[in-house]
């Protein structure tokens, strides 16, 4: 009888505290939501990996590139239209808008009438000319 009355007196506050702790934990373990920029960068990285991959057959490569390109078109547009990125002065956002040609790969390559790989290589400074001029040697 004594035990029951004690538990009745204590339980509401304990319940509230437990509920609060539960809510905090639930919020803490929620997966972080990637933004448009992060999604685009991940997709672009996968596309470049596919382009440079030597382990795939031509058909497999073409299939992967086609799928990735369609997704990347949308993701690039989402990033360019994302108002929340305007003025967000983080290293990632700064780096993304530093070089349009490297960040918005699909749009920039189409605009310049170049294939994806040619465009990317040209933008990072690798061209047929530079490769032809290169000499094998020891550093």
């Amino acid at each position: 009888m004594r035990h029951t009355s004690r538990s009745q007196a204590v339980s509401p506050s304990w319940l509230m505290a437990l509920l609060a702790v539960g809510l905090i934990l639930a919020a803490a373990v929620q997966p972080a939501r990637a933004g448009t920029l992060e999604n685009m960068e991940r997709e672009r990285a996968m596309l470049l990996e596919t382009l440079l991959s030597a382990d795939m057959t031509v058909e497999e490569k073409q299939k992967h590139i086609r799928l990735s390109r369609t997704r990347l078109i949308d993701l690039e547009r989402m990033v360019l239209r994302d108002k929340s990125l305007t003025g967000r002065n983080t290293p990632r956002v700064r780096a993304a808008f530093e070089n349009y040609d490297l960040t918005f790969l699909i749009h920039a390559s189409t605009e310049k009438n170049r294939s994806l790989l040619d465009h990317w290589l040209a933008e990072i400074g690798v061209s047929t000319q530079t490769l032809m001029n290169a000499r094998a040697g020891r550093r």
């Binding site: 086609r66 390109r69 369609t70 997704r71 078109i73 949308d74 547009r77 989402m78 360019l80 239209r81 990125l85 305007t86 003025g87 967000r88 002065n89 956002v93 700064r94 808008f97 530093e98 349009y100 918005f104 699909i106 749009h107 189409t110 605009e111």
Partner: protein, 307 residues
């Protein structure tokens, strides 16, 4: 009948009263604006807040919102009240002036005495009104300056690095928009690349967005302020309002000088009365050349000169 009513207010030791009146007018009226301020007190408050809502309002509605806030304030009520009292006082002065002109001998002197007392009361009321107007102008200037400061802080919050980033983002968007049609034609001409769900939905929504944007641009609340037909920025409009407030203050100060001269004339009249000088011998300075606005302090000049 009216004359008798005025006479009833008089007290026997006339010279002493007139001398006292002259002294009161001289000492009190030079300090009139300062004395009127505490008299107005805290019951005549207007404390507008430079809120974010005000800053976000379109420039041309900013002033209207502030004016509406003022009209609901105790200060506005006090100003209306004082204006009403001044109108009634002016009517009294007109009646008394007419009575003085009609009266003769002892009654005339008594009426002149009463007229002087009423003129003093009028000056005190006018000083109170000026004090309220000064407070209104100062509060407005302070509010506009606060709003301008907040606006500057908001605009100046951009660091050079952030400004450069925004510039690059704008350039990227412009480049994208300029090449979008070309890119669409090239990318989607192939049967292998179908338009995505996002592209279809976005195209559907964009026409609705454009219609709404047009409506927003055409909305009167979104129109920018104009001065002499020239559209100006919000900061420029606030600076214009501050200048207007300063002009109001300068006018109130000038009117204060007019009240000072009126006070001096009242005190001279009081001295003349105490010395029993014939009023007809006084210099007649009355002039109605410009016929001033009935509510303006200059419209009362006629009561103070030539009586």
């Amino acid at each position: 009948m009216k004359d008798r009513r005025y006479i009833a207010f008089l007290r026997p030791p006339r010279q002493a009263v007139l001398g006292g009146l002259a002294l009161t007018v001289l000492a009190g009226l030079t300090l009139a604006p300062q004395l009127a301020a505490p008299a107005a007190g805290s019951s005549t408050a207007w404390r507008p807040v430079a809120s974010e809502r005000l800053i976000k309002l379109p420039a041309q509605y900013l002033k209207k919102a502030i004016d509406r806030d003022f009209s609901n304030s105790e200060l506005a009520n006090a100003m209306v009240d004082v204006e009403d009292r001044i109108k009634r006082k002016r009517q009294t002065l007109e009646d008394l002036q007419a009575a003085v002109e009609r009266a003769e001998g002892e009654i005339r002197t008594e009426l002149r005495h009463q007229f002087l007392a009423e003129k003093k009361a009028y000056i005190e009321l006018a000083a109170e009104q000026q004090s309220l107007r000064r407070r209104q102008a100062k509060t407005k200037i302070r509010l506009y300056e606060k709003l301008l400061g907040k606006l500057k802080r908001e605009q100046g919050a951009l660091t050079p690095q952030r400004a450069a980033l925004i510039e690059k983002q704008d350039a990227a968007r412009q480049r994208f928009e300029a090449a979008r049609v070309q890119v669409d034609t090239k990318l989607f001409q192939s049967t292998l690349t179908a338009e995505s769900k996002y592209a279809r939905e976005y195209a559907k929504n964009i026409s609705a967005i454009e219609t709404l944007v047009q409506a927003i641009n055409a909305h009167p609340m979104n129109a920018s302020a104009e001065i002499d037909g020239q559209a100006i920025s919000k900061a420029d409009y606030l600076r214009h309002l501050i200048a207007e407030g300063e002009a109001d203050l300068a006018i109130v100060d000038q009117e204060g000088a007019i009240l000072g001269f009126m006070a001096k004339l009242v005190s001279l009249d009081a001295l003349a009365l105490s010395e029993d000088i014939d009023p007809d011998a006084e210099t007649d300075l009355a002039s109605d050349e410009d016929a001033p606005d009935a509510d303006h302090v200059t419209s009362a000049v006629g009561f103070f000169v030539g009586n």
